[in-house]
């Protein structure tokens, strides 16, 4: 057996351990939940923060990144929370939508459109309330996600967040935005959001992660469960301040005939890990995962996904595009698992990166683990630079170099953007992409 000696506990690990000791008696949930937290904490004590020798985290060494972990943020007053929200700016300002607000990891019903949602078939409960009512079953996650270090860390600390349930057959005509905003002071957050789309319901959920400051550490988990025949789009936009460390997990469980689209645009944070775990729980379901990552300066952004085809006749599509400039680093890890009886699985994964500078760095790790014999699975991974011939063609038509480069980066991303297939999301994302490109030096 390969015994790896545990390195000395880091300052960040010690801070997390201490935080748990301080908070454990006040964390919500009954005995079952407490037991689950203790188990997760024991696992954390044994393994520490994930680091480069943990295969799933090899390109994103969270232990090395986190020099320290600030205390978990306390709930703000309504006025204070409002001020933080206002300072962050709105990604969907012009969009008619329902809004739910989470400030520093704490859900603020008083700032949220709870009544309007209830009137239209969506029940929203504070996560702590849901946990008290439903117990540890509420924390159940797909098998592929259970052993992950960040998922474990969220299980230890998740105290707040929300539980959003869309009633069966409800078709929302407006999107629901869940704003996750942090103040500029260094603090830790670890909320959990549960999204349950009932049978044959249809909804678009916009998750935005904004704000934060130097030293902010967030480790959120969004647990998405698409019911039978549901049509669900969850679009995540991460544009936090450059000093933050952002770890965000999304789990997606699909019942039969559900169609879910999980989109992630990662533009913010100095260090961000976006991980998605997809589990097919019923036949004839389809999941589309789209990723747009843009990094510059010394940013490090990781998009990691695991798709578990545990049942037959399901489809998964992944398109992930990464633009890397300056000395930034992009990471893509994508694993498709097809279980032995999951025949007729159709899984296609594509990832492409565009390197805009000599020092740009990109790590790509596509993996297929196929145990069934009647399946269609493919993956493609490319990494390249702006094509000088294309650039010359555009410039020969009078388009200045900077504008021509912008056009070509947009062209590179367009495949992923078009697949979003939702005007509201496309407009918001394109706005962010263009802002990013126009601030380029």
């Amino acid at each position: 057996m390969n015994m790896e000696p545990r390195t000395l506990e880091t300052k960040a690990e010690a801070a997390l351990a201490e935080a748990y000791e301080t908070m454990r008696d006040s964390l919500p949930g009954g005995a079952g939940v407490a037991k689950l937290r203790t188990k997760a904490f024991d696992a954390f004590r044994a393994a520490g923060l994930p680091h480069r020798r943990v295969e799933e985290w090899k390109y994103s060494d969270l232990r090395a990144r986190l020099k320290d972990v600030p205390a978990f943020a306390a709930r703000r007053s309504e006025a204070d929370a409002k001020a933080v929200l206002a300072s962050a700016g709105e990604a969907y300002a012009s969009v008619e939508r329902y809004r739910l607000v989470i400030v520093d990891g704490h859900y603020h019903p008083e700032l949220s459109d709870v009544a309007a949602l209830a009137a239209d078939g969506v029940t929203v409960r504070p996560f702590a309330e849901a946990l008290a009512a439903d117990g540890d079953a509420l924390l159940d996650l797909p098998a592929v996600a259970r052993d992950d270090a960040a998922v474990g860390l969220n299980a230890i600390f998740c105290a707040d967040g929300l539980d959003l349930a869309i009633a069966d057959n409800t078709k929302l005509t407006k999107p629901v935005e869940i704003v996750h905003v942090s103040g500029a002071e260094a603090a830790s957050t670890g909320e959990r959001v549960l999204i349950r789309a009932g049978e044959k319901s249809e909804a678009v959920i916009l998750q935005t992660f904004v704000g934060g400051g130097e030293g902010t550490f967030s480790n959120t988990l969004t647990d998405i469960r698409a019911g039978k025949g549901a049509g669900l789009t969850v679009a995540r936009l991460q544009a936090e301040a450059s000093g933050t460390t952002h770890v965000a997990t999304a789990t997606l469980t699909l019942a039969e005939e559900a169609h879910a689209k999980l989109i992630c645009a990662g533009i913010g944070s100095g260090f961000a890990r976006h991980q998605s775990f997809v589990a097919f729980d019923g036949e004839n379901a389809r999941a589309d995962l789209l990723g747009i990552t843009m990094v510059r300066d010394r940013q490090h952004v990781d998009q990691t996904l695991v798709v578990d085809h545990a049942v037959p006749h399901c489809e998964s599509r992944e398109i992930f595009k990464t633009v890397v400039d300056d000395g930034a680093k992009g990471v893509f890890q994508g694993k498709i698992i097809v279980r032995p009886h999951a025949q007729k699985t159709d899984g296609q994964m594509m990832t492409q990166s565009l390197l805009l500078s000599e020092n740009a760095d990109m790590s790509l790790k596509p993996e297929l683990e196929i145990f069934a014999d009647d399946v269609q699975c493919a993956h493609g991974a490319t990494s390249g630079q702006i094509d000088e011939d294309l650039l010359f063609y555009l410039r020969a038509r009078g388009i200045p170099e900077k504008e021509a480069r912008t056009l070509l980066v947009l062209a590179f991303l367009s495949e992923a953007v078009e697949e979003i297939n939702d005007e509201i999301v496309i407009e918001a994302f394109e706005g962010r992409i263009k802002d990013w490109l126009s601030t380029e030096e």
Partner: protein
């Protein structure tokens, strides 16, 4: 309009000399044809005029309306009125044709200190020119040149030329890959643009194109030099006798 003086150029990467002293003067309103065998430097000349950095000018100069072009970037040359119709128009997936046309047109207008075109005015112009070149709106909805046939790509080049209204049009083997009908459409498109202020440099292997776009002057380029200059009858002679006489002359 255009004065090329003792132009020497080589491939920047490996130093291979391509142009060995080209001299050429094109006056406003004139159509000059450049013919010559493969490898004589025809396409290189067109790329150097447009400002491609794969080539390095080692001697001589290119004057455009009396000013040297050599220090100008490709987009500055375009804004000054230079247009190169590419031999192999490039496909750019993800860039919508209309977006491209509008961006190019407005970039040039901006560079010249003119106002941007309004969308309705832009659309009106595109529709009008596209119809003349038998380009459907369906084609314009596609990404730039993606899925276009060889002939469609060449018509798309002429459409760009018609919209951008350059004063010097360099056509690099615009006839290659065209069937007879398409050749007619493209030539008509070019002829419609002829005016006393606009000059053309038509690069071709074959005399066929020059039946449609009748040149004022015909040059033979061989081994990086112009070895013979004549009127349109020179093209006919070349068609009959080939380049053999001139390939030797340049050596």
């Amino acid at each position: 309009m255009l004065e090329i003086k003792n132009l020497h150029a080589r491939i920047a990467d490996d130093g291979t000399e391509i142009l060995r002293g080209v001299n050429l003067t094109v006056k406003p309103g004139e159509v000059h044809a450049i013919m010559g065998p493969n490898g004589s430097g025809k396409s290189t000349l067109s790329y150097i005029l447009a400002g491609k950095t794969d080539y390095e000018v080692t001697d001589g100069d290119i004057l455009y309306n009396g000013e040297s072009l050599l220090e100008l970037s490709p987009d500055e040359r375009a804004a000054a009125g230079m247009f190169l119709a590419f031999q192999y128009p490039i496909e750019i997936p993800g860039v919508a044709t209309m977006t491209f046309l509008k961006t190019a047109l407005n970039a040039q207008r901006k560079a010249r200190g003119e106002d941007e075109l309004s969308t309705p005015e832009f659309m009106r112009r595109v529709k009008e020119k596209a119809a003349e070149l038998q380009i459907t709106m369906d084609m314009l909805k596609r990404p730039l040149n993606v899925g276009f046939s060889g002939g469609e790509k060449k018509r798309s080049e002429i459409l760009q030329m018609a919209l951008l209204e350059p004063s010097l049009c360099v056509l690099d083997e615009t006839d290659s890959g065209l069937d007879i009908d398409a050749l007619k459409v493209v030539s008509d498109g070019v002829n419609a643009l002829r005016s006393p202020e606009r000059s053309f440099l038509v690069i071709t292997h074959y005399q066929r194109l020059l039946d449609h776009i009748v040149p004022d002057v015909v040059h033979v380029l061989s081994r990086g030099r112009i070895v013979k200059t004549g009127d349109k009858d020179l093209a006919l002679e070349l068609e009959k006798n080939g380049y053999a006489d001139y390939v030797g002359a340049a050596a």
